[in-house]
Symmetry: C3
């Protein structure tokens, strides 16, 4: 069990890298749908992958940024973007909106878990920690969609998105309060957040629209 207990910080790294790569993929796909040029595809991949985490580090005053501490993340996103572009062109792969939602939902869960984890480790109050878990994935996706000149998914499809991260954040804090080890808390948050989002898409759950009458 002792070995598993020290998994925590290491697991956070793995999850953050996975989140970064998932959002890179979603960025490449959205850029491909928007018919951007090659430089535009890299730009979208970068803002999707690093936008949310950078805002989180700014708001939590965590320096240096995670992509300065781990320059290999930057190279990883460069390499994955290049590989994904070449693969998609060779296979004539046309990403549909459905396929894009998969890496997007995965990245949502991963970034939400890492976001709450970083904020909680920095000693933030509960509500601030949960909001960091919401901001980290949502901001990257919003930047990605704005650069592609689309209305952000988070605001357009009326199925729960930020809400999944919000609920996942409280699950994290609940498990932490109950004394669960960090690896369980982290993976539980990823599973619940991404699972809720996928369920919402599959079951077509819709948030109530504002209606005055």
């Amino acid at each position: 069990m002792e070995i598993i207990d020290t998994w925590g910080p290491w697991l956070r790294h793995v999850l953050e890298l996975a989140a970064t790569l998932a959002f890179t993929l979603s960025g490449v796909m959205v850029a491909a749908r928007s018919r951007l040029d090659a430089v535009g595809v890299y730009a979208v991949a970068f803002v999707a992958a690093f936008g949310g985490g950078t805002l989180r580090d700014l708001l939590l005053d965590q320096r240096p940024f995670f992509w300065v501490r781990h320059v290999e993340y930057l190279w990883g996103v460069l390499a994955l973007t290049t590989a994904a572009m070449l693969f998609m062109r060779q296979r004539h792969f046309e990403p549909t909106e459905k396929i894009i939602q998969l890496p997007d939902a995965l990245g949502l869960g991963l970034f939400a878990a890492v976001g709450v984890d970083v904020a909680s480790a920095a000693g933030m109050p509960a509500l601030v920690a949960v909001l960091m878990g919401v901001v980290t994935p949502v901001f990257g996706g919003v930047l990605r969609d704005i650069v592609c000149n689309e209305i952000p998914t988070a605001f357009r499809d009326h199925r729960p998105y930020a809400l999944c991260a919000f609920l996942g954040g409280w699950v994290y804090l609940g498990m932490e309060a109950l004394g669960a080890p960090e690896w369980a808390t982290l993976s539980g948050t990823v599973a619940i957040t991404a699972g809720l989002r996928i369920l919402a898409l599959w079951r077509d759950w819709r948030l109530p629209l504002w209606q005055v009458h």
Copy 2:
């Protein structure tokens, strides 16, 4: 008089809270007009209420952020947004553009005064302090309108908006230089900034448009 002299810091708090709540209300109303879903309404209320002050704290390197020091602000915005949504649905209250302008003008004056005050207390040069008084209210409103997918009011209606905050900022610095107590400086700036904006709306003052010929 001694009692009144120590009002300064306390008054800044009250004004900041009032500004946050005024912009929350304007956010809920703009979101209602844009027919966002429930999560969208909260998102708009939050960016409107906290966007400008966060940018100000970032630019002035003031940490922790005001909403980390005062988590009750976050809860307050959550509660007011919920209450406003329920009230507006129950009363079938349809916010017109005119009604939205009232909390918006009030928030403009309040955030302008607090912005100059914080920057001035941080020892910024005069022009930087005045620009902080402009940036604090304007940025929150711009974010609010962008999230609602509207052209920001600050750019669209050609009636003075940022200009009122700019003039109010110089009034603040002038009163401070003349040795006026903080409570008078703060409330004078609020009154002049919000008053100018309301006058501009009421009298339909218009800024000169760019015309080449």
Copy 3:
């Protein structure tokens, strides 16, 4: 030679001021084309001139910001914007897209050189330094175009823009590694970045668009 060797820091200042003024001019021209009101013109000039450098300083954790250390930059932009507006109105000067591209290309080269230089002096890894040289000019231009409600030039015209700054950044690091003095490295980067951009416009080089079939 000793005199020339101490040119480095001084030259960086001159280049940064020149970059700020070049982007101010491009901002005024884009704002004029968009028929903004007078306050809008100032707003666009300010975000164009200071947006990129502020993001760079934020990401590199350089405080105080360059416009707090040098308040004369703020006054300079105020003065140049006023002068340019008066001049353009008096001469009935209607800026064409072609003319706007000139200060824009110049600012691109200048901000790219200063960006890499600042990041490199702050001890950043190579890829981070190069990306700072890309972000500094691109972000200011993107903000400028967003405020004017246009699709950013960097994404719209499919001619190399960010790519020129990216290549210029590697030239900087290459010359630095070869032991070239700072003045040569800086001016070489400006010349290559701005030169590439102007060549790209003149020769109508186009980036490959994403094409699946």
